[in-house]
Amino acid sequence: MALDTLYQAETPEGIALALRPAGLVARAQAWAIDFGIRLGLFFVISLVAGIAGGLGAAFLLIAYFLLEWFYPVVFELGRGGATPGKQALGLQVVMDSGLPVTVAASVVRNLLRAADFLPFLYAAGAMALLLRHDFKRLGDLAAGTLVVYRETVRLHGALPEAPPVAPARLLSGAEQAAIVAWAGRGTRLTPERFEELAQLARPVAGLPAGARGADLTRRLLGVAHWVLGHREAQR
């Protein structure tokens, strides 16, 4: 079984979802950005509060309390499901069933940040992220939430042009996906590497063993177009 970072979640309808939980590096960087933003907000508020004297001090303490405990909650329940730092890193907080995060779960996971903070600056949280497969810190465990990457990385470009060709034999789903993935990389790889990969798929192209590399590439690109449902224009 190949090692992967995926987390399998099942919806009530019995559909298996593959979530991609985020680990230490992304979340530490997201935290650093959020910490900077909170620090900046607190600085601005204390400038304003400084003018107001005694009342300002009370206001400042309330602002500090709200920033510390509810800054993440407000953003997690918003549209993006993530604080600005997490959004910058492409992260999102979801329930571990894949559903959007609920109010209760968001409050619980952020109250338990205090436990993850112990004994010093999120040391417990960092250890949990290093030792668990699903990268849940203590707050995530208690609330049943997961921090996931929102978007997949795409290395695909547009497929290079080629006349559609039927493959030499029936292709399984995995084979079709592999050929389309190969074709999509055409603009990104060196021609030599592109052709080298095409050689691996020679049986599908249905060319004789002596055929030139360029012909093979072209033929296989045609198969990719065919798999995607493109057909020769009707005359």
């Binding site: 090692l3 990104r188 790889l189 990969l197």
Partner: protein, 243 residues
């Protein structure tokens, strides 16, 4: 090099996500690391701690300075782990010349100063490149990924600091009632032999745990870069599905 034998699911990932995959690789192969990395590191750490009488900061500096050399042992284990192979002390001993003696001068000087050494380490150690070829290869890996590689390095450097402080803070917390203040003052008072030893030993213990994760994250990022540059994920799929 058989790409289809790689026991990792290759697909395009961000560098941070690739670093997560490295964490899983360490979790999966913790036994191999305990058999090989732990004894090697224990020997170095004990030697380093023996220098405590030269100054309270010397053991920490020795361990810190030897890290690129120590990382070579970890990367050897991980380079086999990627194919699902376990590593025993005997495997390590057979390869001791290339692992411990190879590229020694550079490892202990320039590599120590590199802000992304775990990411570029496979170029020298696994690809066996040297000279101009290595410089070109490294530049190719780093192009457009310099920030991400340095970012991962920075995260692990900070986590190390946090964990060392965390363990010391825990010691203060668990001190007998009423003595917290004096324990804290004792830890903060520099220069004495005993507190220097406690702090150095704590640092040594954290490096034992954290260094494999750091090296594995860099290695997984290196593999991810080869997915980007050479479409290793497509090769893996082709060889599995079509061969």
């Amino acid at each position: 090099m058989r790409v289809d034998a790689i026991a990792l699911q290759l697909r395009p990932r961000t560098m941070a996500e690739a670093a997560d995959l490295g964490v899983l690789l360490v979790q999966r192969h913790v036994r191999s690391l305990a058999r090989t990395w732990a004894p090697v590191y224990a020997a170095v750490a004990l030697l380093a701690l023996a220098t405590i009488e030269l100054g309270a900061w010397v053991p920490g500096l020795v361990i810190f300075w030897c890290k690129p050399w120590l990382d070579r042992t970890i990367l050897f284990v991980l380079s086999r782990a990627v194919f699902g192979d376990a590593t025993s002390a005997a495997d390590l001993w057979r390869q001791r010349r290339s692992i411990w003696r190879g590229d020694l001068l550079r490892t202990l000087t320039l590599r120590r100063l590199s802000p992304w050494r775990s990411y570029t380490q496979p170029v020298a150690q696994l690809e066996g490149q040297s000279g101009a070829a290595r410089r070109r290869r490294r530049a190719q890996l780093l192009r457009g990924r310099r920030g991400a590689a340095a970012g991962v390095h920075a995260v692990y450097a900070h986590v190390e600091l946090v964990l060392v402080t965390g363990v010391l803070a825990l010691a203060v917390w668990l001190a007998p009632e009423g003595s917290h203040r004096s324990v804290l003052a004792w830890l903060g008072r520099g220069g004495t032999l005993s507190n220097g030893l406690v702090i150095s030993a704590t640092y040594a213990a954290i490096v034992l745990v954290l260094e494999p994760f750091y090296v594995a994250s860099g290695f997984a990022m290196y593999l991810n870069r080869r997915v980007e540059l050479e479409a290793w994920d497509v090769e893996q799929e082709f060889r599995r599905a079509l061969a």
